[in-house]
Amino acid sequence: MPKIACVIPAYNEARNIVRVITEVRPFVDDIIVVDDCSTDDTFALAQTAGAQVLRHPINRGQGAALETGNTYALDHNADIIIHFDGDGQFLASEIHDMVAPLLSDSADIVFGSRFLGKKANLPFAKKYLIYPLATVFTRYILGIKLSDPQNGFRALNRRAAEIIKIANRGMAHASEIQTKTFKNKLRVAEVPITVIYHHFGQRLSGGFRIMRDLLIHKIIK
């Protein structure tokens, strides 16, 4: 059986991390929590919950934490890597659906999508302002044809994880992963997922920051 590792980037997630680890455990072989220099008890709690916990000595952002987790998972012979948020907004039971296209070898990377029919209690401003703008940007500027421009729930096979090296340390990593997927002609699948919003998350200003980061990284590449 392929070895499945779940990478969970976490920053000050003491309230949710134990529950997330407990829920994810039945569906994967390894759980790698990357504590991005939290100031609360995330590190200790994740260790107690039985995850392999890596800790950044300084805060570097979600993209950086994911790449650290990917590197560790690849070094420890993972065949499939899941990216899963540490705040409990995704359903661990849907990992099964996410890895199915990889297990059947019909895709190299699977993106979760909030816009393919499943429940996602998106805040009004996100649904009708931020995501339509983000979709226009990713579709017409970056050339990405996916239904969800910013989703943290994804699954990669070993080949995809080796090819896609995440350079954007902040939230622009989601667009970067999608861009590199298409640029490297990886086989893509989209799977409907459920998202339970506990907080608003990315704002419009965050969207502009993502565009700026993508541009700067494109220049200094």
Binding site: H56, P57, I58, R60, A64, T71, I216, I219, I220, K221
Partner: protein, 108 residues
């Protein structure tokens, strides 16, 4: 005329430096292209300074040389800030790589 020649010599100096940086792989292809375009536009502007002066007047700005120099100075400041931003982004990326190395070192 002399001022134009001096300005062009300065630009040639920076372009030569740019090619050296590219050969030594100190900068990537995209950055190389960006600065090459920047210096090329500057060189064209200096060569066609009279036409540019005419254009500046047509656009409604004062034709006096001192004003034009101020516009150039503002542009130069924009350039320096932008360059600083890129340098900062490079350092930031290196810091992330170092953080990752330290994080993974005892675990490998």
């Amino acid at each position: 005329m002399l001022q134009q020649i001096i300005a062009l010599v300065i630009i040639i100096f920076f372009v030569t430096r740019l090619f050296k940086q590219k050969t030594k792989q100190e900068i990537g292809l995209n950055e190389f292209r960006l600065w090459l375009i920047f210096w090329s536009i500057a060189a064209v502007a200096i060569i066609f300074i009279k036409q540019l002066d005419y254009l500046v007047v047509r656009l409604g700005f004062s034709g006096s040389g001192i004003n034009f120099l101020i516009y150039l100075a503002v542009l130069a400041l924009f350039y320096l800030v932008f360059r600083l931003r890129l340098e900062l982004a490079k350092t930031d990326r290196q810091l992330t790589e170092l953080t990752r190395e330290i994080t993974l070192r005892p675990k490998k």
